[in-house]
Structures are given as structure tokens and as C-alpha cells.
């Protein structure tokens, strides 16, 4: 059997392992094995590629593999679960730049004159570049190195239009004209434009919309790999890249639906740039009713069902372990405890689930809004911990609200709502929350972790 057939058979094997692995990621019981299968598919693809007869020198490959693996290993084992969104963002970026480099290397080696190949190189470099700088900006926003606020300026649409036009011209030059400027200059210009586009694409998007952006960049990193597959005519790149591209797009769609907004609205509206609700509106809503942790304890102690609604604030306060402890104490006290998780709570899809899993909360007590909303009036106490926009009744009641129509967790329908909050500041979307002024709402001001700790010690004492 010649090597080419062997290599291709191995690539089919890899593709099968990726597909079965992804399928097994669909259930918590099999997910870990699925990930293992998927990684063995990758190992197989890499090992068989090393057999390629065109490889002349293995030293550089070995060096790159070793250095990258070491960096990847330490990044993956040291990262805190709360920092997972920025970690995934930066990994996306690395995938993007790798595809860009592969496309560039193939272009430089200059063996292609077919417009189809050149088109594939163009797309690889473009998507890879946008993914790279877009992910860097997303990383910056998520880790709060740069402000999470949407950054808008005058003439933004015009600048973006100009940029796109320049990219199209470069593309035409690269594919059909050639020689107008040298091919190296064309490539460098394309890379520069792709980088700028990536920055301009993410910078106007606010921190609360980051789940959508990460999902989209995830999709892009797959599409870049897919385009690279067309450059080197390799089917495993195309299959794997397309799977990732599809997965990212579906997650993007789920996130948009969970906010009742279109993708275009998320990307271009600069949502949350200006605080929407005026002060007058806030004043009309009445007074907030604070409650002490001691009094809250008495109510919790008498409750038969408690629903915990975590949000990004819980992650910031690192309160997930204390929350789990409180949940266990409540259960020992005979109270039914569930956790309601909104799809866009946190900074990436499924962010809250991972934090609670880290704190040893069993995944079968985590429920979704559509499961819990119909039975909300039977819930004695809802504890909103660091969530804000996802429990905002304006989404149902106020047609003028920017989040009107967004599916929420309807905590205001429960008998009592405790809102754990640092201060009266508005949420990430920058809008007022009338939940705080409802007659059945009590505010537990202070650091979420300290407040929950006080409740825990009340239960123990």
C-alpha cells in the first residue's frame, strides 16, 4: 500500500473520531470520553502527517510542537475557571493566526496560479487574521485589560465600508490581476487589513455581548482551518473546520435567541453604550427594601423551595463554593434547591454551569428558564446572585426597554426574591432593573461571597 492511501485512510479515521467525539460531547455522562476520542483523532492526524514524504527537515516541526505544547499545557492547567472565557478567546485567536500563517506560507512558496487556490489563500488569511485580532480584543475586554464598554466613534460605518472595499480590491488583485503590486506586498497588505478589520469588528461590542462574540470567533477559527484545507487540498482540515464552523454558528444563534436580538444588532448596535433609563424613570420606580442577612436567614430557614439564580457577579466575587455550601445546608434543612441558569449568564455560553460544576454542584439540579418559569409561583425564595439583566422584568413589561422581548428568568413571580448586589449600579447592559423595586423583592447589599458566608454561618450556628 502506498503512503498516500495510508495517509488518507488515517485522515478518514481522524474525521470519524472527531465526529463521534463531538456527538459524545452532547451528554455529561459521555462528554469526557468524547473529548478523549476527539483528541486521539487529532493525534492520529498529526502522526500520520509526519510520515509525509515532502517533509525534509523535522527539527523545526519538533521545536514548534514542543514549545506550543508546553505553553498549551501550562495555560490549560493553571487557568482559573472564572477566567475560562478569556482563555477560550485567546485559544481561538491562536487557531486563527495558525491558519493565517499556513495560508501565507503556501502563498509565498508560490506554486499556485489557479484562482481557486488563490481564493482559498485569500479567505484563509482574511478569516485567520480577523479571528486573531478579534480574539485578542475579546481577550482584552474579558480580562478587563481594556474597557468592556462598547467603543463607538463618528463615521464608524464609513471606515468599515472603506476597509471592506480595500479588502475586496486586494482580493481581486491577488486572484486575477497579479503584478499590480508584488505578491509579497499584496500578502502583507491583506494581513494588515485583516488585522484592522478584526479589531474594528470587536471593539464596538459591549462586554455583555461577549458570549455571542466568542461563539462567532469560535466559528471563524473553524472556517479559517476549513479554508486552509482548500489551500493544501486536505480533506481532514475541511471536515474538522466545517464541524467547528457549524458548532460556533449554532452557539451564536442560540445566544442571539436568548437575548431576542439579531446577530446584526449584537454586532453593530453598540448595545449598552449609553445608559438608557433616565434618572426620572428610576425615581418613579419607588424605594428599595434592604434586608439584613440575619433576617434573610430566617426566611430561608422556613422556605420549602429555593431557586438560586447566578450571574457574572457570582464569578467576580468567586462565590460559587460558598453558594454550594449554602445550597447543601438548605437541603439538609429539608429545602428543595435548584439553580436556574440563563443561557447568556456570564461571559460565555455555559459559563455558570462550569463554575458550579467546579464547586461540586451536581448538574442535575441546574435548570433552564423554560423549565422553571411555569412553576415560578410555587418557589418560596429566589436568590439572585450577581445576575441582573437576565432577571429584568422590563423584558416582559416595558416595550420601550432595549431588552424588551428577551426571555428572562421570571423571579418576580416567586413569593420572595433576594437580590445579592454590591450597590444599586445598573447591570452590564446599562439599564435599570425594576425588579429591585418590586414589593416582594428584598435587597441584600454587599459582597456576594461575604453575604452568602454570613448566611452559611447562621445556618451552622
Amino acid at each position: 500500500m502506498n503512503t498516500e492511501i495510508l495517509v488518507n485512510l488515517a485522515y478518514i479515521g481522524s474525521s470519524i473520531l472527531f465526529i463521534v467525539g463531538l456527538k459524545m460531547l452532547g451528554s455529561p455522562d459521555t462528554a469526557r470520553r468524547g473529548n478523549l476520542l476527539s483528541s486521539s483523532g487529532m493525534l492520529l492526524a498529526v502522526l500520520i502527517t509526519l510520515l509525509d514524504q515532502n517533509i525534509i527537515d523535522y527539527r523545526y516541526i519538533a521545536g514548534g510542537l514542543l514549545a506550543g505544547s508546553i505553553v498549551g499545557y501550562f495555560a490549560a492547567t493553571k487557568v482559573k475557571m472564572t477566567s475560562m472565557p478569556e482563555m477560550v478567546a485567546i485559544f481561538n485567536g491562536f487557531g486563527g493566526i495558525a491558519s493565517l500563517l499556513v495560508g501565507s506560507a503556501e502563498f509565498i512558496s508560490g506554486v499556485f496560479d489557479n484562482p481557486a487556490f488563490l481564493g482559498a489563500i485569500f479567505l484563509t488569511v482574511l478569516i485567520g487574521g480577523v479571528t486573531f485580532t478579534g480574539s485578542i480584543i475579546a481577550y482584552g475586554k474579558l480580562s478587563e485589560v481594556i474597557s468592556g464598554k462598547p467603543y463607538l466613534y463618528k463615521g464608524q460605518q464609513f471606515v468599515n465600508g472603506l476597509l471592506l472595499l480595500a479588502i475586496v480590491i486586494i482580493g481581486i488583485n491577488m486572484l486575477f490581476i497579479q503584478g499590480f503590486i508584488s505578491s509579497e506586498q499584496t500578502l502583507i497588505l491583506l494581513i494588515a487589513l485583516a488585522f484592522i478589520l478584526g479589531v474594528l469588528f470587536v471593539i464596538p461590542i459591549g462586554g455583555a455581548d461577549m458570549p455571542v462574540v466568542i461563539a462567532l470567533l469560535n466559528s471563524f477559527s473553524g472556517l479559517a482551518a476549513c479554508a486552509a484545507g482548500f489551500v493544501i487540498l486536505n480533506n481532514v482540515l475541511i471536515v474538522a473546520g466545517a464541524l467547528v464552523g457549524a458548532s460556533g454558528l449554532i452557539l451564536t444563534n442560540i445566544m442571539c435567541k436568548a437575548m431576542n436580538r439579531s446577530l446584526a444588532n449584537v454586532l453593530f448596535s453598540g448595545f449598552g453604550a449609553a445608559p438608557d433609563a433616565s434618572d426620572d424613570a428610576a425615581q418613579e420606580q419607588g424605594e428599595v427594601k434592604p434586608i439584613s442577612a440575619e433576617d434573610a436567614y430566617l426566611i430561608l430557614e422556613a422556605a420549602t423551595s429555593v431557586l438560586i439564580v447566578p450571574g457574572y457577579g457570582m464569578a467576580v466575587a468567586q462565590a460559587q463554593h460558598t453558594v454550594r455550601e449554602l445550597g447543601e445546608l438548605l437541603e439538609e434543612n429539608g429545602t428543595e434547591v435548584k439553580y436556574a441558569i440563563h443561557p447568556v449568564a456570564g461571559r460565555m455560553p455555559g459559563h455558570m454551569n462550569v463554575l458550579l460544576a467546579e464547586a461540586n454542584v451536581s448538574y442535575d439540579v441546574l435548570v433552564e428558564p423554560e423549565d422553571v418559569n411555569p412553576i415560578m409561583d410555587t418557589v418560596d425564595v429566589c436568590m439572585v446572585i450577581g445576575a441582573n439583566d437576565v432577571v429584568n422584568p422590563d423584558a416582559k413589561e416595558n416595550e420601550g426597554s432595549p431588552i424588551y422581548g428577551m426571555p428572562i428568568i421570571e423571579v418576580d413571580n416567586s413569593k420572595t426574591v433576594f437580590v445579592l448586589k454590591r450597590s444599586m449600579a445598573s447591570g452590564f447592559a446599562g439599564i435599570q432593573n425594576p425588579l429591585f423595586f418590586k414589593s416582594n423583592t428584598r435587597m441584600l447589599f454587599g459582597d456576594a461571597k461575604e453575604t452568602v458566608s454570613t448566611l452559611v454561618s447562621e445556618f451552622k450556628g
Partner: protein, 92 residues
């Protein structure tokens, strides 16, 4: 050459449909591991990077080796962190 490209486009289209079918069934609890796991798969570009890195032209080698470096971070880091996360998902 054209027939080969058509075949690859064919594979692409089928893979996208397959991906949509697979991912739609993933519950929201697993969305973060799904993303980081999928992200690791996108590191498949490593295959292309290895081929470039092993070529004879110096510029291609340099670009390819940089690509190998970034793609390995993506692959190794992505799979390990997904494994770490999934290890935390427990049922009582």
C-alpha cells in the same frame, strides 16, 4: 484539479450539515466545554502547519514553524482544558 475541488466542496457541505445536526443536540450545560473542545479541533490546521514547516524554502519554514507553535497551543491547551472542565461535571 477542478474535480478534486468539487469533491472537497461536496465534503464541506456535508460536514456543515453534520456539524449542525451534532451540535443542536448539545445541552446548554455543556456549552463551554463544547466550545473549548471544538476550538481544539480547529487546531487541525496544525496538519497544514507541519507540512509547511517541513519544506525546504526558508521563509516557508519560518512561517510554518510559527504556525506549528500557535496551532499546538490551540490543540494541547484546548483538549486539556476541556478535559479538566468535564472532569468537574458530576451527578450525585
Amino acid at each position: 484539479m477542478e474535480s478534486q475541488i468539487i469533491l472537497l466542496v461536496f465534503i464541506l457541505v456535508l460536514s456543515i450539515f453534520l456539524g449542525v445536526e451534532l451540535i443542536t443536540k448539545v445541552p446548554s450545560t455543556l456549552h463551554t466545554p463544547l466550545m473549548s473542545g471544538a476550538n481544539a479541533i480547529s487546531g487541525i490546521t496544525l496538519v497544514g502547519a507541519i507540512l509547511s514547516s517541513g519544506s525546504s524554502d526558508l521563509m516557508t519554514i519560518l512561517l510554518g514553524t510559527a504556525a506549528v507553535f500557535f496551532a499546538s497551543i490551540n490543540v494541547v491547551g484546548g483538549y486539556l482544558v476541556t478535559n479538566r472542565m468535564l472532569g468537574m461535571f458530576k451527578k450525585k
